[in-house]
């Protein structure tokens, strides 16, 4: 099956029906392994047991940016290639990305209170991630505000691509400004600064959360395709009613078609 084949929503639904159970099982398995390793990880010599918050905070923080990246590629698919599933992918990803960003902010705050002495500081990293969260909410509001999905898709795609400018700001905020947040310690020049006893559970949890996103995203895309089919059928039903009332009760049902496009 090629990428072109996946442009067909019906084929995409068939694919999701096949892969979703396997993805869900792999996610549960990796999450269980990651949580087990996180529970057994040693205390940090400075932070003590609070370092365990890292295993939940960092994957969510990575995903908050990764999901926006996925939405940006999907937005290019909408504006440039006009791929039929591109805006479905972008719309379905927004609430999931918002949830991961919310968790990154919340767990970061809960980690910051014992380590920094404050739940919140208006520094560059925290503020730029808060802006990312607000942009997710804005996108979700935009999708809801416009009734026609194809019209909403173009506006949302432009907003998503403009919002992508925030991603490098988030990533490099700890280098460009003097922030309370620590600099990068995993993905940095010269290799990870983390000991293996922390790094391995962290990577397992990151892969597990990424798989969780892929699973939820495919399921949400399937729901969005079905929602659009419902909308098409409802519009067809409404046009039948209008057509029947136009030609009068005697002709009702004689010429009205029951067919709609294959959404």
């Amino acid at each position: 099956m090629t990428l072109i084949d996946l442009a067909n929503p019906t084929r995409f639904l068939a694919l999701t029906a096949r892969v979703l159970p396997w993805l869900a099982a792999a996610t549960v398995l990796l999450l269980a392994i990651g949580l087990y390793q996180a529970a057994l990880a040693p205390d940090d010599y400075q932070q003590g047991a609070t370092v365990k918050i890292m295993f939940i905070h960092v994957p969510n923080a990575w995903l908050s940016m990764f999901v926006w990246g996925v939405m940006s590629i999907a937005s290019l698919g909408t504006l440039v290639w006009r791929h039929p599933l591109a805006d479905v992918a972008a719309k379905a990803a927004a609430p999931i990305g918002a949830a991961f960003t919310f968790l990154a902010l919340l767990t970061g705050s809960l980690w910051g209170r014992p380590m920094w002495g404050t739940y919140w500081e208006w520094d560059a990293r925290l503020t730029s991630v808060l802006i990312l969260f607000l942009m997710y909410l804005g996108l979700m509001a935009l999708w809801r505000a416009v009734d026609d999905p194809s019209r909403a898709a173009r506006a949302a795609a432009v907003l998503t691509l403009v919002g992508a400018l925030n991603l490098p700001i988030i990533k490099f905020s700890v280098d460009w400004w003097n922030t309370l947040h620590q600099p990068a310690s995993v993905m940095r020049m010269g290799g990870s600064a983390l000991d293996k006893s922390f790094l391995i559970p962290l990577l397992v949890m990151a892969i597990a959360f990424t798989l969780l996103f892929v699973t939820l995203h495919l399921a949400a895309m399937r729901n969005e395709i079905l929602r659009r089919r419902v909308r098409s059928l409802q519009m067809m039903q409404a046009s039948r009613v209008a057509f029947s009332s136009e030609i009068g009760p005697g002709a009702r049902g004689q010429n009205a078609s029951n067919e709609v496009g294959a959404a």
Binding site: L40, I56, V230
Partner: protein, 59 residues
Amino acid sequence: MSLGPYASFIVTSYAAAAVVVAILIGWIVLDYRNQTQRLRELEERGITRRSGRSAMDAS
């Protein structure tokens, strides 16, 4: 496994993640049921796609 003096912060972090992920999964499952139910109702009223296939058809 001892979580030390900040156990409440650690437990709250993991609990919040579990609750949010559970809400996401629940929302997606309920949405799927809702959409398939609406499609079934429309098809029972005789509204079908041009292809003639069921709107829930994935094959």
